[in-house]
Amino acid sequence: MSKTFWHRWGQLIAATLAVLAVVSGIAFTTTARNAAQASSGRIVISFWHSMNRPNGQLLDKIVDNFNQSQTKYKVVSQYEGSYGLAESKYINTLHTNVTPTIMQQSDIPTMTAVGDYVPIQQFVDADHYDLNQFYPGILSGFKLKGKLQSMPFNASSSVMYYNKDLFKKYGVKPLSKSPSYSEIRAAAKALTEKSKGAMKGATLQIYPWLPEQLAANQNAVVVNKDNGRTAAATSAELNTPAMQRTFARVQNMIKDGSFQNYGTGSSASVNQMAGFLAGKIGIFMQSSAAAGTIAKGAKFKWGETFTGSCGRRTG
């Protein structure tokens, strides 16, 4: 069998392999040419970011516009997954051939702990760049000892998203613009009970930024030395009344049975978003940046509220 088969198919296989070899040969030369083009004349600036979907497309447009605006530099942007994944990639590849020139990152504490970056203040000073265009409140979030560490690019505000249709369906009063904690708890409980367990009222992703925001709304810090801004922090201040209140509130909702736990890790936020878009979750807290994805993916009416007073009031 093998002999006849070889006679019949051998040439075809050989030809296929030859074609493949030629294709890869071409691909090799294209790569070489691309690299050469990129390096000839233009300085390549690699840029890692974590913006996908509508935000990512907008960012690509900004990058394209910049590349077309001049001929000296070429920014090559790369989506590297969530902030957490991108940060891991960055730290895992420090000082290697793939280290990016610029990186978008939300986790300033970890980045400063790892070091190995140039504070943006140096460039601001050199260029006499006018920082007055930014809100001082936002700027201060990116400063360490008065020096700007990174450029405020997409400063996130923590907001609360809720599914208006589900509220209406189960006859729950919509959230106010700045809901109190007790209001949220009651709504979550009502949603869970009236849906007979088909959905959960609320969730809070296990993601440090969220409790940090909730504590900050109560004027509390998470590490000493004013959250490490006046000097390098020497101790964590997680066990504060503000933080205890925050988690006691989560605990209350877990006791109510109205809380959905999406776990930790890189998939938690994706699952949370999928759950919300599927109408499995009534209320969740997330960055204002998620609004684009929700606007595109939600097949229901949804609302957005401040998280402000839900932190401050006791419940």
Binding site: W6, V23, A27, W48, R53, N92
Partner: protein, 271 residues
Amino acid sequence: MTQLKHANHYFWLILVALLMSAPILIGIWASLLPTADIAAGHLTSTNISLANYVAAIQTTPVLRYMANSFIIAILITAGQLVLCTLAAYAFAFLDFRFKKQIFALFLITMMLPFEAQIIPNFQTVRTLGWLDSYAGLTIPFFASAFGVFMLRQAFLQVPNELHEYSQLIGLNHLQFLFRIVLPYSRSTIVTFVLYMFLTHWNDYLWPLITTFTDQYRTTQVGLKQLQAQDTFSNWGVIMATAILILLPTLIVLIIGQCYFRKGLNTGGLKA
């Protein structure tokens, strides 16, 4: 009566065959439909066109991904062919000290899952400066115990008379290998080549952790990249990309069908 039984049997056969190939058939069908129709749930739409394929090629780096996968699959296959042939030759035709022990060493590697080696391997490749490069994507896979066993098994089928004859006429090792052993085992070699190509065309975990730019991303992780960037829209383009990536697999499977079935009887393959 028997005719009825036959018809019944064929009915079930066709039904099951349709069910088994449904994911692919529906995928192909969806790749031909406009995204707007898919999003509206109109899978019975007749607006078929190749527009999604054009869009996939023009707006996504899918061709780049495919070129990368061709390159790494071919480089790994070639590398393995050389290295595994040499090792298999030694195990089949040479006598040397510690042969059993070295053979056992090869055997042991089959018990060690690659998934458990990724951390140090990543660190090694990083130290070598091979992240995001063809070298890093291919060289770690240049040797495999599986390939050595498969080829050794084939080489052992070379009749002893041929072996003795080549000694008689004074062929050296490489001459014996190229003039007699390889032509004699060509059916296994073809199976080996097709199988290795397929396996590494489908590589996922390693490219996922060692590629950082579209310049080196391979098809399978490219698919994830496209999906992550664009989950909630553009089903048409994503399906077209998936089908494009599937095509070489199907071609290899069609060419290799008989070889694979034969491989099951002799060497044993597992994708």
